[in-house]
C-alpha cells in the first residue's frame, strides 16, 4: 500500500508528478472548471449551489492528492458539509426562484465586468505560467509524522495566536448572525396547551378536520366526506375549492336508501354548489 500511495502522490526526481496524479488532475480539472462556469451561466440558484459543491469536492480530492490529507477532509466537512449546506438552506428559506433581474442599473456594466474578469484571468495565468519556480520539494519530509500531526504542530505552535484570533472571530460572527436575523416577538408566544384550552373554551372543533371523500363513495378532493349518519361534512373539502365554488354536490354520493337513486346521472356529478350561504359558512376555520 505504501508503495501504491507513494506512486500516486510522491514527486519524481525531476519535480513532476506521477502519471496517476496527472490522470486524476486531467479528469478532475475540466470537470471543476465546467462546474465553476455554472456560476456564470446557470439560471437557477440551486444548480449553481450544487455545481459549486461539486467543485469543492473536486478541490478536496486535489488537496488529498497533493499530500494535504487533513486539509482535504476539512475542506469537505467545512465547505461542502457546512458552508454550501448553509447556502442551500438560505436558498430554500428565501425562495429558490429568486432569479436575476435583467435590467442593467449601470450602463455597460456587463461588458466592463467581462473585460475586467478576462483581464484578471489573463494577467494571472500569464504570471503563473511565465514565472520560474524552484524545483518542488514535496512534503515527504514534512509529513513524516502523518499530515494531521504536522499541521497541528504548526497550528498550535507558531500560529497559536492566529488560531485564537480566528476562533474569536468565528464566535463573534456567529453572534453577529444571531443578532442580524433575530426578530423580537411582538406578541406573546402562544403555547400548544394554551391553544388547546382556548379551543375548548370556544367550543371549537377539537379534532382535525375530516379528509375529503374518504367515507363517501368517491375519492376526489372535491367530494365531501360523509359523517356516520351519511350526511356530507362541508368542512372536509378544502376552503379554496368551496370559495371558488368547485365543490361537488355531496348528495350525489351520499348513502341513499333506494338502490336506484344511487346511480348518479352524469351531469349531477359536475354540479357545483354555488349557494352563497354555504360559501360563507365555509370560512369558519
Amino acid at each position: 500500500m505504501t508503495s501504491a500511495s507513494s506512486l500516486v502522490t510522491a514527486l519524481t526526481e525531476a519535480g513532476t508528478t506521477s502519471s496517476g496524479e496527472a490522470t486524476l488532475f486531467w479528469v478532475l480539472a475540466p470537470l471543476m472548471v465546467l462546474g465553476a462556469l455554472g456560476l456564470l451561466f446557470s439560471r437557477r440558484t440551486i444548480h449553481v449551489a450544487v455545481s459549486i459543491a461539486g467543485v469543492m469536492v473536486g478541490l478536496a480530492i486535489l488537496y488529498v492528492a497533493q499530500e494535504a490529507f487533513f486539509l482535504g477532509f476539512v475542506q469537505i466537512v467545512v465547505y461542502t458539509g457546512a458552508i454550501m449546506m448553509l447556502f442551500l438552506f438560505v436558498l430554500m428559506l428565501v425562495g429558490v426562484d429568486a432569479s436575476d433581474s435583467l435590467v442593467e442599473t449601470i450602463s455597460g456594466q456587463r461588458w466592463i465586468g467581462l473585460l475586467a474578469g478576462l483581464g484578471t484571468g489573463a494577467v494571472l495565468v500569464g504570471i503563473v505560467t511565465r514565472a520560474s519556480f524552484a524545483a518542488p520539494v514535496g512534503l515527504e519530509a514534512a509529513n513524516t509524522d502523518t499530515n494531521p500531526v504536522g499541521v497541528s504542530r504548526l497550528v498550535f505552535g507558531n500560529y497559536v495566536l492566529a488560531l485564537e484570533v480566528v476562533g474569536t472571530l468565528l464566535v463573534t460572527a456567529a453572534l453577529g448572525a444571531l443578532v442580524l436575523t433575530h426578530r423580537r416577538r411582538l406578541t406573546r408566544k402562544v403555547g400548544q396547551r394554551e391553544i388547546a384550552e382556548a379551543k375548548v373554551a370556544q367550543g371549537a372543533r377539537l379534532t382535525p378536520l375530516a379528509a375529503p371523500g374518504v367515507y363517501a363513495r368517491h375519492n376526489a378532493m372535491d367530494v365531501p366526506a360523509l359523517d356516520p349518519y351519511g350526511e356530507p361534512i362541508e368542512e372536509s373539502v378544502s376552503r379554496v375549492l368551496r370559495i371558488r365554488g368547485q365543490e361537488a354536490a355531496a348528495e350525489a354520493f351520499a348513502l341513499q336508501e333506494d338502490a336506484e337513486e344511487r346511480a348518479v346521472p352524469e351531469d349531477e356529478w359536475l354540479t357545483t354548489t354555488e349557494d352563497p350561504d354555504e360559501l360563507e359558512g365555509g370560512e369558519q376555520k
Binding site: T16, T17, F25, A29, M32, V33, A36, L39, L40, A49, V55, M56, L59, L62, Q66, A68, L71, V78, Y79, A82, I83, L86, F87, V90, L91, V94, A98, D100, V103, T105, R110, G113, L114, A116, G117, L118, T120, G121, L124, V125, V128, F133, A134, P136, V137, G138, L139, A142, N147, G150, V151, L154, Y159, A162, V166, L170, T172, A173, L180, R183
Partner: protein, 99 residues
C-alpha cells in the same frame, strides 16, 4: 505534469469567481463567487506548500477556511435580513441609503 498546472487551475477558478461577482445580480450567487475565489487561493496555497516542502501553506489555507466560514455566516445573515424587508435577494435592491 508539473505543479504549475495546479496553479493555472487555481487562477482559472479565481477568474470565474471574479466574473461571477462582477456580473451576477443575485446576492447569493455573488457570495458563492467570493467563496470560489477563496477556494482557488487555497488551492494555490496548498500547491505552494508542496513546492516549498513545508506545511505553512496548508496552515494558511486552514485559516482561510475558518475566515470564510465566519464571512459566510455573516453574509447569509445579511442576505436573509435584506430579503425579509425587501423581498428580494438582488444586490441592486440594496440601495436604501442611497438618497
Amino acid at each position: 505534469m508539473s505543479l504549475t498546472n495546479y496553479l493555472v487551475l487555481s487562477t482559472l477558478l479565481f477568474t470565474i469567481g471574479t466574473m461571477a461577482v462582477l456580473l451576477r445580480r443575485n446576492g447569493i450567487i455573488v457570495f458563492m463567487g467570493v467563496e470560489l475565489m477563496l477556494n482557488a487561493t487555497n488551492l494555490a496555497l496548498v500547491t505552494f506548500s508542496r513546492m516549498h516542502g513545508n506545511l505553512d501553506g496548508q496552515v494558511f489555507a486552514f485559516f482561510v477556511m475558518v475566515v470564510a466560514a465566519a464571512e459566510v455566516v455573516i453574509g447569509l445573515a445579511i442576505i436573509v435580513a435584506i430579503f425579509r424587508t425587501r423581498r428580494s435577494a438582488s444586490v441592486d435592491d440594496v440601495n436604501l441609503l442611497r438618497n
